[in-house]
Symmetry: C2
Subunit: 210 residues, 2 copies
Amino acid sequence: MRLSELSRRSGVSVTTIKYYLREGLLPPGRQLSATQAEYDDDHLRRLRLIRALTGPRGLSVSITRDLLGALEEHTGDIHVLLGLALGAIGPVGEPEGDAPEGSPERGEVDRLVDELGWAVHAGAPARTTLAETLASLRGLGVPLDWRVLLPYARLAERTAALDFDQLEGIDDSLEVMERALLLTVLLEPALLALRRLAQENESARRHAGA
Amino acid sequence: MRLSELSRRSGVSVTTIKYYLREGLLPPGRQLSATQAEYDDDHLRRLRLIRALTGPRGLSVSITRDLLGALEEHTGDIHVLLGLALGAIGPVGEPEGDAPEGSPERGEVDRLVDELGWAVHAGAPARTTLAETLASLRGLGVPLDWRVLLPYARLAERTAALDFDQLEGIDDSLEVMERALLLTVLLEPALLALRRLAQENESARRHAGA
């Protein structure tokens, strides 16, 4: 298909597609002439993936490019790929700088991970997010200890197992990666929404007759 | 304390504090003269709460004002208060308009909530968030059924129970509300961070020897 049809079918403007081509997020089409190129369904699929990753809750263009590049280089080793993907997604939310490397909260998070026995990178950005949350809550007079996070972490373990269950039965490793990224990023608002609803229900349960 | 000290101790600029006073988020201080007012620790605490709620992942100034107003009007009934608070927090993430009222996805979410037996408002914004997630994933070729969300919802129930456990033993209902809001909003990035770490660990567990 031509650029105009790729734009129509993907819902992404021609200008934006050209930008992705220039930035290397989208591989070039098959050149038909000096000014025309032909695109295929792989381009369409890739374009949808880029939109999902760079969407409202998503990644920067440069991180997306690095990630898509890594996906193609390491198609063999699914664990390396998933590690790269989950690492590249980066910290959750805006870093607030409340708990730098070496802060007491950072030490507590490392202790939490030890206690859980989790095999995760020492430099995982999510550790910093956790330390910042502890520091923020303390600054607001809610002195949560890292032990409070333990039962939450046990539930997160089970959530992650559900996430991986969604990937079972897919053979193509690039497809596994794409789906893992989509589920990780796109399920986030859904999981928070479920918590909100569950809180409303729990509030009714505990306080309805009080 | 004077305005300058309130600013120093809260870390919020004098200009921003004046803005909150003007917008009615912060009650006025005790007027000492035509140009000077005296503030106390309640102002400091309230200011910290406003900052937490309007921070990076937080609420608009107008929603925060409505919420703080509601907290003061309904100090008696904790369930009404929690309902107001959790409802007012609004949808999670940017609404993308993928699943309007009456869409098939919206119907599926209502079915999910029925199946769970949860007592939640028909108009809860989190329902819309869930419907939008289902619609987005489908648009990207990941056809998740609402039933896939059931085990996630069961884990969310247990997470919400942990949330409410943090509120046990606090008697002052305004304080319960403040803490509930802080835990709801501020724990969100931490819960997502725990999921990321748990995914990394689960990936290692499933694929390490493969």
